[in-house]
């Protein structure tokens, strides 16, 4: 059986989580690999969460928030927009493929868009294969 990635999704309560709910109520089928965690706003998402997810065995992390300018808290999503490049650079330095972490804007009305993003990301991560983090840390212990 082919590799099925585990992806953790951090969704903002007002746009993206509602968008995901809409995908549900409109019965739009999509890949089952994303496990959603609700936060009030992408501004709440601390890069630590992403690293935590990766070390706990996630093969990818998806972050979704309101489109720029539409944030329920007027500017929260910009804070995530600012953290994202720095987070990516850190991950790159740790040798983790950038495609494993992704920031997307999904509004409450974009159920289809959410489904498409999930499918696309799942496919990409599937192609990348399992995240090296978990296994490598285990090896390290074995080394000694």
């Amino acid at each position: 059986m082919s590799f099925e990635p585990k992806i953790v999704g951090f969704l903002c309560n007002w746009c993206s989580y509602t968008g995901a709910d809409l995908a549900g109520t409109s019965r739009i089928h999509y890949a089952p690999n994303v496990r959603i965690i609700r936060v009030m706003c992408t501004a709440r998402i601390d890069p630590t969460f992403v690293l935590k997810a990766l070390t706990d065995g996630a093969d990818g992390v998806l972050i979704c928030g309101c489109h720029p300018g539409d944030c329920h808290y007027s500017e929260g999503n910009y804070k995530m927009m600012r953290r994202y490049p720095l987070l990516k650079s850190i991950l790159a330095e740790f040798g983790i493929e950038p495609a494993r972490v992704r920031l997307e804007w999904v509004s409450a009305s974009e159920g289809q868009r959410f489904a498409d993003i999930v499918n696309d990301m799942t496919q990409r991560v599937r192609e990348l294969g399992p995240s090296p983090v978990r296994t490598a840390l285990v090896q390290d212990m074995a080394e000694r």
Partner: protein, 320 residues
């Protein structure tokens, strides 16, 4: 003799600064000597591993281990000391978080050997000798400590009772810690000693204002106002995300904090927190501009994790 404290000091992968910092306590070291027997301290007193091995388990009251764990020898002695000592103190940034040697986790053992033994301009070219764990010379085999794939903080190798941060720890803090042991006033196991809970800024004399950053500067690029927060002036300072206790030495002398005291209490990953804070106050809503401003932070990771790669969530690079 038995009523004296039995102490051992040891250095793992370290620069030696920690040992020096112990001596920096000046006369106090004599008071220590008065109340304690220093059973092992490679840098200062004569003592062999076999003496250590000869000791009874728990014979030592306190083992002060500075430096990270880089090779099998470090680990072996760490374990030995742990067995022989009642208390294990991770002394200094390296023992506590991996420290500067921990930066090696961002590359690979192979690369390190290549640089050190093969491609180094200061060595004789071409013989390509790389240290081997075991090598034979006229029928005898010599073995060297195994050089691990990565660096570990002390606590990932042995059970540590207390952590004393700093690169190096401040003499006063060292005194404090030692006195606590002498007096037997011990904090709960696992606590960080010789430092505070809060971040550096609280003790930093510079005035702070609301922060918005349009451009970052390297310290040499700007003449900073001595009385206002360095970060506000666009100079990356780790103080906001670093445990206080050093006495704010660097910022007081105009140099941004580099975070050697590790994250503030309760923070899991110092680098990630710093990144989160720094990025949040970037003054732009335009993705390109944001990228541009953040480009003013070259090699951010080595700054954010300068003393703590092995202590971070990801611990090391996964580059194949």
């Amino acid at each position: 003799m038995a009523d004296k404290l039995q102490i051992a000091l040891y250095w793992g992968a370290a620069c030696g600064g920690c040992d020096v910092s112990v001596l920096d306590t000046n006369e106090f070291i004599l008071d220590v000597a008065a109340v304690a027997d220093i059973r092992l301290w490679p840098i200062a007193v004569d003592g062999k591993y076999k003496d250590l091995e000869a000791m009874e388990d728990g014979e030592l009251d306190l083992a002060i281990f500075n430096g990270a764990v880089r090779n099998s020898e470090n680990e072996h002695i760490a374990k030995l000391l742990r067995r022989k000592s009642k208390l294990m103190l991770a002394y200094g940034a390296c023992a506590y978080m991996g420290g500067i040697p921990g930066l090696a986790n961002l590359t690979t053992r192979e690369k390190i050997f290549e640089t050190a033994y093969l491609k180094n301009p200061s060595i004789e070219w071409g013989n390509g000798v790389v240290p081997q764990p075991e090598s034979g010379i006229n029928g005898k085999t010599i073995d060297l400590p195994r050089f691990y794939r990565r660096v570990y903080r002390l606590s990932s190798v042995v059970d540590v009772d207390y952590f004393l941060p700093g690169c190096p720890p401040q003499p006063d803090q060292v005194k404090g810690a030692l006195l606590a042991v002498v007096k037997g006033e011990l904090p709960p196991k696992g606590s960080v000693v010789g430092a505070f809970e809060h971040a550096l800024c609280e003790d930093c004399p510079r005035t702070k204002n609301e922060k918005k950053i349009k451009q970052f500067y390297r310290p040499w690029q700007v003449a900073c106002d001595p009385d206002t927060c360095l970060l506000e002036q666009g100079v990356l300072c780790a103080g906001v995300a670093t445990r206080s206790g050093c006495g704010v030495r660097c910022p007081k002398s105009g140099i941004p904090c580099r975070g050697c005291y590790g994250p503030a209490a309760g923070v899991v990953d110092q680098g990630a927190k710093l990144a989160s804070a720094i990025a949040s106050i970037v003054d732009s809503k335009d993705p390109e501009e944001i990228e541009g401003i953040l480009a003013g932070l070259p090699d951010f990771i080595s700054f954010a994790y300068r003393y703590g790669v092995p202590a971070s969530l990801l611990q090391r690079s996964y580059r194949q």
